[in-house]
Amino acid sequence: MKREQKAGLVLMSPPVLLLIAGFLLPLAFVAYTSLMPPRTFGFTSNITLENYVTAVRESYWRPMAWSVFFALATTILTMLISWPIAKALVRKSRRFATIVATMIAVPVFIAETVRLFGAHLFLMPRGGILAGTINYFFGIDIGSVLFTPLATLIGLLYIYLPFALFPTVLGLSQVPADQVEAAQDLGASPWQQLRYVEVPIASPGIIIGSLLVFVLVLGATSESHMLGGQSAVPIGFAIEQRFNYAQDWPLGSALATVLCLITALLVFPLLSRLDLDRLFGR
């Protein structure tokens, strides 16, 4: 027992040190920068909450609200889209599952920029792949959803679907098939079967999937940059602009700190509920 304790402490130190240096420490720096006077660099002892006041006054709650809206909508929609796919992957033959899972996983490893660029080219008005093809065959000019919030949402669904799907599959695979059959034999309607058997048992996977999608979308910028244009600016993009163009690191840091707090509020309670050994160990 004592030997295992020592082994655990020694072995955990490389990743833990990395995370302290590359995660906790940087976040502390960001939090401290957010308390510095506006448009300054470096660290002084003049601590001020001015940046947070500016953030509220200059209506930065608007991009924050867009991000929360996109995160919520993407989480719900990717979950609805992936549920039937997850069922098919778990219940159908192994070969079918392997092929489909691979085909969905492969694009994850292709740069997000490339895929969103493709979506952009497809949706472009007039000469775009979709509009151009339709115009060529039918001679009609369809409009384009490009540069609307809807285009951003489409991009988000496209990019984050696998992050919702795979944890859901992991969760659903822990629902015993005979338990579902038993529920059916006892006369459960499809809805009851979903509500009382499948969702409760699959919930760890569902929680991980929705949490992952929600948090990642909260910080996502490229979907709106490449598809939605200026129609709906998310908070990640606003922060990026404070850092790159405005060179106002303290204000950018204040916005980032708020985003961190929202994330922490969601992640801590949900993550502490999960039994990771059971989920991954089996």
């Binding site: 655990g8 072995l11 590359g22 660290f43 085909m103 080219l121 490229s222 490449m226 922060i239």
Partner: protein, 267 residues
């Protein structure tokens, strides 16, 4: 039951088709010679590929991305081996806390992770380059690789380790002769994941590469400001590069497996 199964399959296939439309669009758009995209092209040509391949910048971008991704893969695996043993093998006080702490960077907005690295690195006086990008990528990728290796470690046969100990093997001998071969498949997929995730990453690179530019960064800026069919051509080439890498990796895996089998037979 049967009917609903068929319905799931139809749905799955539809979603798959939609998922591949953007990739097909990139390829289609790269086969023209016009300044603006006017689909369907009047002239179909592979000229943009010749142009992209003739550009020395293409190689520089691929090399920067490659350098970062390879370093990240090596670093991640080296840190993930002890990390995964602590995660899944040993029973120690604080393990549950450690498991959750390790997952935090994964459940975190990546753009904030990148800018936090930027703030702290520049506060400590580091010059930003591809090296700082390796560090930042690792913060996000090490937890993922650790998780992948952990799944393998959960399935470890502990009796074998104990037998090795009882037969007088040292701790290091036990690790290299017993534990390591058993978790090798996990390490291999972990390294591949690390490479591909780093290769395709934008939000972390955008804040931390400094003077160096990775492929996704270049594509991001060129796509929005300065379109030419050469840009999708470079994108397609980058996809091909990662496919080649995966194939080489799989081939290497087959060779290593063969060698290990041989050694087992000889012993």
């Amino acid at each position: 039951m049967q009917r609903s199964q068929r319905w799931w399959t139809v749905w799955t296939v539809c979603v798959l088709v939609l998922l591949y439309i953007p990739l097909v669009s990139v390829i289609l758009a790269s086969l023209a010679n016009t300044r603006y995209l006017r689909f369907p092209h009047r002239i179909w040509t592979i000229e943009p590929y010749r142009e992209a391949l003739g550009l020395s910048q293409t190689y520089d971008l691929q090399m920067t991305s490659l350098k970062i991704a390879l370093c990240v893969a090596v670093v991640s695996v080296l840190i993930a081996i002890p990390g995964a043993l602590a995660f899944a093998r040993y029973d120690w006080r604080g393990r549950k806390f450690y498991q959750r702490f390790l997952l935090l960077p994964v459940f975190f907005p990546q753009s904030v992770l990148g800018l936090a690295a930027l703030v702290s690195l520049s506060a400590m006086g580091f010059d930003l380059s591809w090296r700082t990008a390796v560090f930042t990528h690792a913060v996000w990728i090490v937890p993922i690789v650790t998780l992948i290796v952990s799944i393998q470690v959960y399935g470890l046969d502990r009796a074998q380790e104990e037998a090795a100990f009882d037969l007088g093997a040292s701790r290091l001998q036990t690790f290299f002769r017993v534990t390591f071969p058993q978790i090798l498949p996990g390490l291999s997929s972990g390294a591949l994941f690390a490479f591909l995730l780093s290769w395709s990453n934008l939000p972390l690179s955008a804040y931390t590469t400094g003077v160096d530019t990775t492929l996704p960064e270049w594509l991001y800026s060129r796509m929005s400001t300065n379109f030419a069919p050469m840009v999708p051509a470079v994108a397609v080439l980058s996809i091909l590069a990662s496919i080649v890498f995966v194939l080489v990796w799989q081939a290497g895996r087959v060779v290593v497996n063969g060698v290990m089998e041989r050694r087992k037979q000889l012993e």
